[in-house]
């Protein structure tokens, strides 16, 4: 890890509109939970607030914004060249940037899901689920999105397509897709940590753990590999 790269990456994330939206997403989730509880006077539906809105929308969006914030724009406009024309290993650059994206996304996701769980009057088991799925989901999504941001100029769109098409659309109708779904893996980890049913029990825990490790490793390595081959295109 390289502290200088991490410091610059953090500034890229929190600076400008990106930082505002990143902060707004978990705050909105908490607000939604608090509002629902105030209106109905009863604890909110955990499946709806924590899983359907929190894990399925807020976590991937936060991860997408964070992962693309640390890498996408710099590769797009070529200014990553200022970081790369130094003797720092490109894999270290990728790992440092990933660490910042994953750390910020995990912090915001956990904050949002945990806050929503508490504001919605849910039991302690759901606090555990919020921490495990929010943190795990954010880190895994970031690994995927960091690799996508490094691989294509359209990392943001590629990430959105993954979430909307593979996870939301195909995953909903074709059960097999849960095995390539970050959300399902995060849910499985959450299930095992707390005594709740998130309807992913048919996925082996071993599979979930190994898939997480592989995604982390491959995601960061792919981003690093892509940076070792970074090409500065002239305008001609």
């Amino acid at each position: 890890m390289n502290l200088t790269i991490m410091r610059l990456a953090l500034r890229a994330i929190v600076g400008g509109w990106r930082g505002v939206i990143l902060l707004a997403l978990p705050v909105l989730l908490i607000g939604l939970a608090a509002l629902l509880r105030a209106v109905t006077g009863e604890p909110v539906s955990a499946t709806m607030v924590i899983v359907e809105v929190g894990l399925a929308m807020v976590v991937p969006l936060v991860a997408l914004l964070a992962a693309n914030g640390v890498l996408g724009p710099e590769i797009d406009d070529g200014s990553v060249v200022y970081l790369l024309s130094t003797p720092v290993s490109r894999y270290v650059v990728a790992a440092s940037k990933f660490a910042v994206a994953a750390g910020s996304a995990a912090l915001l996701s956990i904050g949002g899901l945990l806050g929503a769980s508490l504001a919605g009057g849910l039991s302690d088991r759901w606090s555990v689920v919020a921490v495990v799925t929010g943190g795990g989901g954010a880190v895994l999504y970031c690994a995927l999105f960091t690799a996508l941001a490094a691989a294509t100029r359209h990392g943001m769109i590629a990430g959105l397509i993954y979430v909307l098409v593979i996870e939301q659309l195909l995953g909903r109708f074709l059960g097999g897709f849960r095995f390539v779904s970050v959300r399902a893996v995060a849910e499985r980890l959450g299930e095992s940590a707390a005594d709740v049913d998130l309807a992913v029990a048919d996925m082996g825990l071993t599979y979930a753990v190994i898939a997480s490790a592989v995604l982390l490793l491959v995601g960061v390595a792919a981003a690093g590999w892509r940076l070792t081959r970074f090409q500065l295109r002239g305008d001609e």
Partner: protein, 307 residues
């Protein structure tokens, strides 16, 4: 260690050849990479800086390969044409980050020295977004030389920089060249290059068209037949008088389409420019217009490639 060597380097994108079989050695001192826009200068610099793989051939810095070799950056500094997108940083933070990434022992001192070298100390604590083009250029330069590299590559460093700042930058590069560093910069303006470069490498349409000191390049570029378009009150009489001059190779009456001018092909530009007004006055002809018809840099380059 200080020599940058290109051996049979080519680079193509699909069917388009951007750089065609270039072999050159860039040694200590200031070298200008001269060529019209789109000639492949940026592609060449990208390959020299390890940010583009040659399709064939090899680029070496001293003994080491530069493509996919980050240790080469210990001896190499790059000032890309690209703007700094870290505009929210101050100049000092930007240069300091570079010093840290190079793992220098005393990053603060190195940063202060680099900022002083480019004369940016006064503005160092302002955000880069408030800088003028020339100041941004200097901030990029400070960041590229904070680790005192032996080789410095600059892609169009004078583009869009006002004349005073340009002078300043030129002084700086000259000093670095005199200090024994290898400095290479690209430009499409001959005057710019010959002011500071000892050695000039000319690139046209991806090919290495000429190489030499500025005197040799200048002669190559000026000692060539050039064409002038002249309009006067009596084109035919003027044409006859001009044709008698030794420095005039041919005169053509009538401009295509309009037929109201003459085109003069001149082998000795100096003689022609002196002779024309004298001839005209003696014959009682008024010259209404005289314009070089092929003085654009592109035509100069085209001539160079053909010869």
């Amino acid at each position: 260690m200080t020599d940058l060597t290109l051996t049979d380097v080519s680079r193509w994108y699909g069917n388009v050849v951007a750089v065609n079989d270039v072999t050159m050695t860039i040694g200590p001192g200031v070298t200008g990479l001269l060529g019209p826009n789109g000639a492949g200068k940026s592609t060449l610099i990208a390959m020299m800086a390890g940010f583009l793989a040659p399709s064939s051939g090899e680029v070496r810095l001293g003994e080491q390969r530069v493509w996919r070799n980050v240790t080469a950056y210990r001896d190499l500094g790059l000032v890309p044409e690209r703007e700094v997108s870290f505009a929210y940083l101050t100049g000092r933070q930007f240069v300091q980050a570079s010093a840290e990434l190079h793992r220098l022992r005393d990053t603060r001192a190195a940063t202060a020295r680099a900022l002083a070298e480019v004369d940016l100390t006064d503005a160092a604590d302002r955000a880069i977004s408030t800088y003028s083009k020339g100041m941004r250029q200097r901030a990029k330069l400070a960041s590229a030389l904070v680790h005192e590299p032996q080789v410095l590559l600059l892609d169009e460093p004078f583009n869009g920089v006002d004349p005073r700042q340009r002078m300043h930058l030129m002084d700086l590069l000259t000093r670095m060249g005199e200090a024994g560093r290898t400095v290479l910069f690209s430009s499409h303006i001959l005057e710019e290059v010959e002011q500071i470069a000892r050695q000039i490498e000319v690139v046209v349409a991806g090919r290495h068209a000429a190489s030499g000191d500025f005197g040799a390049i200048r002669r190559l570029m000026t000692d060539r037949p050039s064409h002038y378009l002249v309009r006067s009150t009596d084109d035919r009489a003027l044409a006859a008088a001009l044709m008698a001059r030794p420095g005039v190779r041919s005169v053509a009456l009538g401009r295509v389409g309009t037929g109201d001018a003459i085109t003069v092909e001149v082998t000795d530009t100096g003689e022609f420019t002196h002779a024309l007004p004298v001839l005209a006055r003696r014959a009682g002809i008024t010259v209404r217009e005289i314009a070089p018809s092929d003085e654009s840099l592109e035509s100069v380059f085209t001539y160079l490639v053909q010869s």
